[in-house]
């Protein structure tokens, strides 16, 4: 009990004094996860929009596949990317293994399905009559998809936040692809895993508090955006 309390006090101390290692790991974590989320958003929102709007054979199969991949284990995503970018793999020449870029690739792939799937759900939630209204007003197919995404923007923002949450909190892919190299690919989750196993409870706790604080901050920002109901366009 004492140990935990002591660890907590030290953790707060590390944060308040802006311990260089703590700051450096936190900043890198944010960079990697934000970049992954941005890439996954750029891919998954239009893809989700197209799957929603178009009728084609095998649509149900694709939707089911996407939903199955919601719970893709992070180590499987890690393994898949590892096979792609290891020296012997097809993209080995890119030398991405054990680099932050490799981690971004792995995290993007990891969160793509859940973001595309939730975009689909968000678009299905838009009243059918809105789609009719938009089409009736003379929108092209692309304009219709964009307008529907605009109508569902708050729900889609929820999908983006969830994707970010999954990216920043996962250990498996970060460890396998990044390798937890100090000062290069070490992120909050891999650092917590390592420091805990080495007995550095206070450092782990400090990093854990920061991880939670980031999650809290992101959710607060989303709440604020969603409250500002109608932005002008």
């Amino acid at each position: 009990m004492n140990e935990i309390l002591e660890g907590l006090v030290q953790a707060v101390h590390l944060i308040v004094t802006l311990n260089p290692e703590v700051i450096e790991i936190s900043v890198r974590t944010l960079e990697i996860s934000l970049l992954s989320t941005a890439i996954a958003t750029i891919v998954s929102v239009p893809v989700g929009g197209l799957i929603h709007f178009r009728e084609f054979r095998g649509k149900r199969v694709i939707v089911t596949l996407i939903q199955t991949l919601y719970s893709l284990p992070t180590v499987i995503a890690g393994l898949f990317v590892f096979l792609l970018i290891s020296r012997a793999g097809p993209f080995g020449f890119l030398r991405l293994l054990f680099t932050p870029a490799g981690m971004v690739l792995a995290q993007s792939l990891l969160i793509l399905p859940i973001m595309a799937g939730l975009t689909l759900t968000a678009l299905s939630g838009v009243d059918r009559s809105k789609r009719d209204t938009i089409i009736s007003l003379g929108a092209t197919e692309t304009q219709t998809v964009l307008s529907l995404i605009h109508e569902a923007r708050f729900a889609i923002l929820g999908a983006v936040v969830l994707g970010f949450g999954r990216a920043i909190s996962e250990v498996g892919a970060a460890m396998m692809i990044g390798g937890n190299i100090r000062g290069f690919t070490r992120v909050l989750t891999t650092a917590i895993a390592l420091e805990t196993s080495m007995g550095n409870i206070s450092l782990s706790l400090a990093l854990g508090i920061i991880l939670l604080a980031i999650a809290l901050a992101v959710n607060l920002i989303v709440m604020l955006v969603q409250q500002e109901r109608v932005p002008h366009d």
Binding site: D127, S129, K130, D132, T133, I134, I135, S136, L137, G138, A139, T140, E141, Q143, S147, H150, E151, R153, R229, V230, H232, D233
Partner: protein, 366 residues
């Protein structure tokens, strides 16, 4: 302008629109009337190219609309539609009205001017910056009309444009519709279950029943001379009496209705089965003691029911068969009507619209 040739639309086993042929000339106002679920909405959606017919052809301004999505978009941009329950897009009122122009890539300044003019037309100037989600039902209906008209369509489609609206908003919307038809020559097709609205706005009515055009023609003709008992009931004839012709004197036709006979004006021959249709407001009630009036038909009976509707009273009289008369509430009170009282029902021979049974063999099965 619009030429439907044997158009049908089925959903699985359900046929919403069956074999409809309808020509709507440029600049005319057509009202589709009919009970709910009769296919009016599906017909309007077909006209707006939101649906493709499962059979038949739809020519718009002489061009077949059965082409590619690209071609259909080009035609759809010449049409505008106001839906029965208009939904606001998640933006401002101005953004809603401007949407169709943005899709057409109209320059920004022009959009602003046309948007303002359209809002002014429906009496909502100054609301451009309001969040559209905060509008009342009547305001949203007017915004939807502005949103449709701002694109300067050649055809305006409206699905029950004033259902559930207060009289003030109804009047305003009807005035705008009349004005754009007169001044801009916009062809208008609207659906309504309100006969009065159909008569006020339209030069042609099409009665839609069970997915078919049951009868169409000038509003006054449809109102006075419905072709079938179903049409008559929809047009507000409350008294439909089945009988057969037993005697003729020129146009005067004596019809045997169960225990009584009535006289009507028709060209039906002796022995023919007919339905005599009489509007409740064409029946007059006289106290049983009073002398007979000038009307040709007088039926004695007893009052079985009195129902008050605002300033009117609906009095049902059993004369051997039940008939219902609509009189003013004041006269009902002055004459001290009560249930069980003996009374005379009178009506003119010309007040009876006779439908010959041979006339209304249903349209050929499709």
């Amino acid at each position: 302008m619009i030429d439907l040739q044997g158009v049908s639309r089925t959903y699985g086993a359900h046929a919403a629109v069956r074999d409809v042929s309808l020509r709507i000339p440029k600049g005319s106002v057509v009202a589709l009337i009919g009970p709910s679920g009769s296919g009016k909405t599906t017909l309007l959606r077909l006209l707006d190219l939101l649906e493709r017919p499962t059979a038949g052809r739809y020519l718009f301004d002489g061009v077949d609309t059965g082409g590619s999505e690209q071609q259909r978009l080009a035609i759809r941009r010449r049409i505008a539609m106001v839906f029965q329950k208009p939904v606001p897009l998640a933006t401002t009122v101005g953004g809603n009205v401007a949407a169709g122009l943005r899709y057409r890539k109209v320059p920004k300044e022009e959009i602003r001017a046309r948007m303002a003019a359209a809002l002014a037309m429906v009496g909502l100037s100054g609301l451009a910056d309001r969040d559209a989600a905060t509008l009342s039902g009547g305001e949203m209906q007017r915004v939807a009309l502005a949103r449709a008209l701002v694109t300067e369509p050649e055809v305006l489609l409206m699905d029950e444009p004033t259902a559930n609206l207060d009289p003030e908003n109804t009047t305003l919307i009807e005035e705008v519709v009349r004005r754009v038809n007169r001044t801009q020559g916009i062809t208008i097709v609207l659906s309504t279950h309100d006969m009065g609205q159909g008569q006020r706005l339209a030069d042609t009515l099409a009665l839609i029943m069970q997915g078919r055009v049951h009868q169409s023609g000038r509003a006054q003709d449809l109102f006075s001379y419905p072709g079938t008992p179903e049409a008559a009931r929809f047009m507000g004839f409350e008294n439909l009496l089945e009988g057969s012709v037993v005697e003729k004197q020129d146009d005067l036709t004596v019809i045997d209705i169960g225990p009584r006979r009535i006289t009507a004006v028709s060209d039906a021959g002796v022995g023919e089965g007919v339905t005599a249709c009489i509007r409740a407001e064409d029946l007059t009630l006289l106290s049983a003691r009073s002398t007979q009036g000038s009307a040709r038909n007088t039926l004695a009976g007893t009052i079985t029911r009195i129902a008050l509707h605002g300033s009117f009273a609906r009095v049902t009289v059993d004369t051997g068969f039940p008939v219902t008369a609509l009189i003013t509430r004041r006269s009902a009170e002055e004459m001290e009507f009560r249930v069980g009282q003996p009374i005379c029902v009178t009506f003119k021979a010309t007040a009876v619209h006779v439908i010959r049974r041979a006339d209304h063999s249903p349209p050929a099965a499709g």
